[in-house]
């Protein structure tokens, strides 16, 4: 199990949220949308220009900017850093 920011996951990778940090307003929005500890998140794809990423969580699709996804830490199976 490796812990890293959600923004570093590749398309198709799956992680489990361990913590959400950062600006209180953003954090409140994130948790309300279901980005809470224990939630399983799959990175579906990145936008063509590379920035917002599309996630699948709790059965729906959500997109986040990289600088927002940096505040979400997930644990991923795997050995690499």
């Amino acid at each position: 199990m490796v812990e890293k920011p959600l923004s570093q996951l590749n398309s198709g990778e799956k992680g489990r949220v361990v913590k959400v940090v950062g600006d209180p307003l953003l954090r409140r929005r994130l948790v309300a949308m279901g980005v809470v500890r224990g939630a399983e998140v799959i990175v579906v794809r990145r936008a063509p220009l590379g920035d917002p990423m599309e996630l699948l969580l709790k059965g729906y699709y959500l997109s986040l900017r990289r600088n927002e996804a940096e505040n979400v830490f997930v644990e991923v199976d795997g050995k690499q850093t």
Binding site: G12, V44, L56
Partner: protein
């Protein structure tokens, strides 16, 4: 979907995609005044609709490789191509209607040949593909018939 249907669909998509791209290019070229043919009655000189046609064509062509090797991964692009082709085709049909109304009000001329743009007859030629993709969506009512990467 059996392999042969996929291959046939792939060939059809190849032809359709190539036609869309060709028409799109011609529309752009004839705008720049360098069209090789004298066909401006049938191919309007409109770089933007030319671009749109090329995009539809490209979407069809995207499906070709997978389909010709009998893999279903091409089907989404086939469906996307049908959707885009419908949007474009229906728009031009509506616009033709508006032009007709305009000429009726103003007493100007209305040429059906000019209004029947390539986008319209290519849309008509896309209808078999629409039927085919509809069959596919119906058939995939069973679980797991499409290798959906994101669904557990």
């Amino acid at each position: 979907m059996d392999k042969w249907s996929l291959k046939i669909a792939g060939s059809y998509a190849l032809a359709l995609g190539a036609l869309y791209v060709a028409c799109g290019l011609l529309e752009i070229l004839s705008r720049m005044g360098v069209s090789p043919f004298k066909i401006d009655r049938f191919i309007p000189a409109d770089p933007f609709s030319g671009f749109a046609s090329i995009v539809v064509g490209a979407t069809y062509l995207y499906s070709v490789r997978a389909l010709l090797t009998g893999r279903e991964e091409g089907l989404p692009f086939l469906l996307g191509g049908v959707v885009l082709s419908t949007i474009l085709g229906v728009t031009f049909i509506l616009v033709a209607g508006a032009h007709w109304l305009d000429s009726w009000l103003e007493g100007g001329e209305f040429s059906l040949a000019e209004e029947l743009r390539p986008e319209i007859w290519l849309f008509a030629s896309s209808l078999p593909v629409a039927y085919f993709t509809l069959q596919w969506i119906r058939a995939s009512g069973r679980p797991g018939s499409f290798p959906s990467r994101w669904l557990k």
